[in-house]
C-alpha cells in the first residue's frame, strides 16, 4: 500500500486495514502488525501508525490484548460490510446517476447495461 500526502496517513492506514478485513485478507481474531513493524515496513512515523490503529480500535474493527498486540474484532467484517453497503448508494450510485443525467443517459439504458453484467 502506498500513501499519498493528500489526506492524513492515519486515515489511509485505517482504510487499508478495513479493506483487508472486508476482502478476508485479515481474518477474525487474527493478529495485525505492531505499530513499530507497520512503521518500519511502510517507512512512516510510528506515531502516525499508532493513530491509525487507535482509530480502528475506537471503531471496533480491532481490539487490544494487553502486552500481546492488536487483533481483528470477530464482528468487524460484518459491521464494515453493513456500513459500506449503506454508503454504496449515496456514494457510488447517486453520483453516477447525476453524471448520467448531465450527459443525457436514461436510467433504462443504465439498467440494460447492468443487465449485461449479470
Amino acid at each position: 500500500m502506498a500513501f499519498d500526502d493528500r489526506s492524513p496517513i492515519y486515515l489511509q492506514i485505517a482504510d487499508g486495514i478495513k479493506n483487508d478485513v472486508l476482502s478476508g485478507a485479515l481474518k477474525e481474531d487474527e493478529q495485525v502488525m505492531s505499530t513499530n513493524q507497520y512503521a518500519a515496513f511502510y517507512r512512516i512515523n510510528p506515531a502516525t501508525a499508532a493513530k491509525g490503529f487507535a482509530q480502528l480500535v475506537d471503531e471496533g474493527v480491532l481490539y487490544k490484548k494487553r502486552g500481546i498486540g492488536m487483533f481483528v474484532s470477530p464482528a468487524a467484517r460484518e459491521k464494515l460490510r453493513r456500513e459500506r453497503r449503506e454508503r454504496f448508494f449515496t456514494e457510488v450510485v447517486d453520483p453516477m446517476l447525476a453524471e448520467a443525467k448531465r450527459i443525457g443517459i436514461e436510467v433504462d439504458e443504465i439498467v440494460r447495461h447492468l443487465g449485461g453484467a449479470r
Binding site: 493528500r6 489526506s7 496517513i9 512503521a39 517507512r43 512512516i44 512515523n45 493513530k51
Partner: protein, 293 residues
C-alpha cells in the same frame, strides 16, 4: 521538553531568528522546514546551545541549556562542516565521537560507513559533498544522543544514499527512541518520517503542527470566476491563478462534505494540496500566515 522562549538570533544588524516560541516534547522526530536563508541553521544552533541566543532562553528538561555540560553531553548537532580539521581521517572522527558520546555505538557506526561505502582511512578534505553528508549521518545516528539535530545532512547525497539514510534514521529511532530534529527542504521524500513539522520563514515561526494534520489541510477550488469568488469568501487564500473565465484558488481550509457538495452543485471542482505545495504556498508569500488570517 525543549522550550524556546522568545528566542532571537542577530548577527550585527541582521536578524536571522526573531522571537520564536516553541515547546518540543521529547522522543519525537521533527522536521524543520524553511527556505534557504529562512534561519533554520541559526535556530538549530541556538536549540543545540552552539550559540547563545541574542535574546530569549532555551531550556532542555527545565535546565538552561547554554554552556551546560550535562545538556551538551546529551546533544548531538551535525552541521555540514562536520566541525573537524580537514586533515583528520574519517576513522579519527569516529574515535573522537566514541570518546565524547556516552551512548556511542561503534559497531553501528562501522555498519553505516559500510552502507554508505566510505573508506575510514580517507581524510575529511578528500570527501565529496555527499560523502561528507554521509559521515555526518554516521556521526549523528551512532551517537544515539537523546537530542539529535541533523542540519540538512543530505546535501550532495544521491537518491539511493538518501533513501538508505531515511531507512536507517527510522529504524534506529524505532529501536532507540529519542528526539531527532532534521532540517530539510526536500519535504516530499521525508515528510512521512516526521511526527511534527516546524516551518519557519524570514526568521519567524510560521507553523508547528502534527505532520498528518497538514495532509489534506489545503484545498484548490477551480471553476467559473464568479462562483469561485463567492465560494472562497472568508477563507485564507494561499495562491490563485486565472485563465480566461476560469479561476483556481488554493485555500488554507479543509472543507467538510457539505461544503464540497454545495461547491460541486455550483459547478466547482476540488483538488487536494500536498504538503510540498502547502509549504511552497505558505512560504512564497510576502506576508507571514498570521497576517492574512
Amino acid at each position: 521538553m525543549i522550550e524556546l522562549r522568545d528566542v532571537s538570533v542577530r548577527y550585527g544588524s541582521t536578524v536571522a531568528v526573531e522571537g520564536i516560541d516553541l515547546d518540543l516534547p521529547t522522543g519525537k522526530i521533527y522536521g524543520l522546514l524553511g527556505r534557504n536563508g529562512s534561519g533554520k541553521t541559526s535556530l538549530l544552533s541556538a536549540l543545540a546551545s552552539f550559540r547563545r541566543p541574542s535574546s530569549g532562553t532555551v531550556r532542555v528538561d527545565g535546565q538552561d541549556a547554554f554552556e551546560n555540560p550535562a545538556v551538551m553531553r546529551q546533544t548531538c548537532f551535525i552541521r555540514d562542516t562536520l566541525d573537524t580539521n580537514e586533515s583528520d581521517k574519517v576513522r579519527a572522527l569516529l574515535r573522537f565521537a566514541g570518546w565524547m558520546r556516552p551512548n556511542w555505538d561503534a559497531d553501528y557506526a562501522a555498519k553505516l560507513l559500510d552502507l554508505f561505502e566510505i573508506n575510514p582511512r580517507k581524510r575529511a578534505s578528500s570527501l565529496s559533498r555527499g560523502q561528507k553528508s554521509a559521515v555526518g549521518v554516521v556521526l549523528g545516528l551512532a551517537a544515539r544522543a537523546p537530542l539529535t539535530i541533523l542540519d540538512e545532512t543530505y546535501l550532495g547525497m544521491d537518491a539511493v544514499a538518501r533513501s538508505a539514510f531515511y531507512r536507517e534514521l527510522l529504524g534506529d529511532y524505532l529501536a532507540h527512541p529519542r528526539t531527532i530534529i532534521l532540517s530539510t527542504h526536500l519535504i516530499e521524500e521525508v515528510a512521512d518520517l516526521f511526527e511534527r513539522v516546524i516551518v519557519i520563514d524570514h526568521g519567524r515561526l510560521l507553523l508547528h503542527e502534527e505532520t498528518d494534520e497538514l495532509r489534506g489541510r489545503g484545498v484548490t477550488v477551480t471553476g467559473p470566476a464568479a462562483a469561485v469568488g463567492e465560494f472562497v469568501a472568508g477563507h485564507t487564500v494561499l495562491g490563485e491563478q486565472t485563465l480566461g473565465g476560469v479561476r483556481a484558488v488554493t485555500l488554507d481550509w479543509r472543507p467538510d462534505p457539505a461544503d464540497l457538495a454545495r461547491g460541486e452543485s455550483a459547478g466547482l471542482n476540488f483538488g487536494p494540496v500536498g504538503i510540498q505545495d502547502l509549504f511552497i504556498h505558505l512560504t512564497s508569500r510576502a506576508q507571514p500566515l498570521e497576517a492574512t488570517r
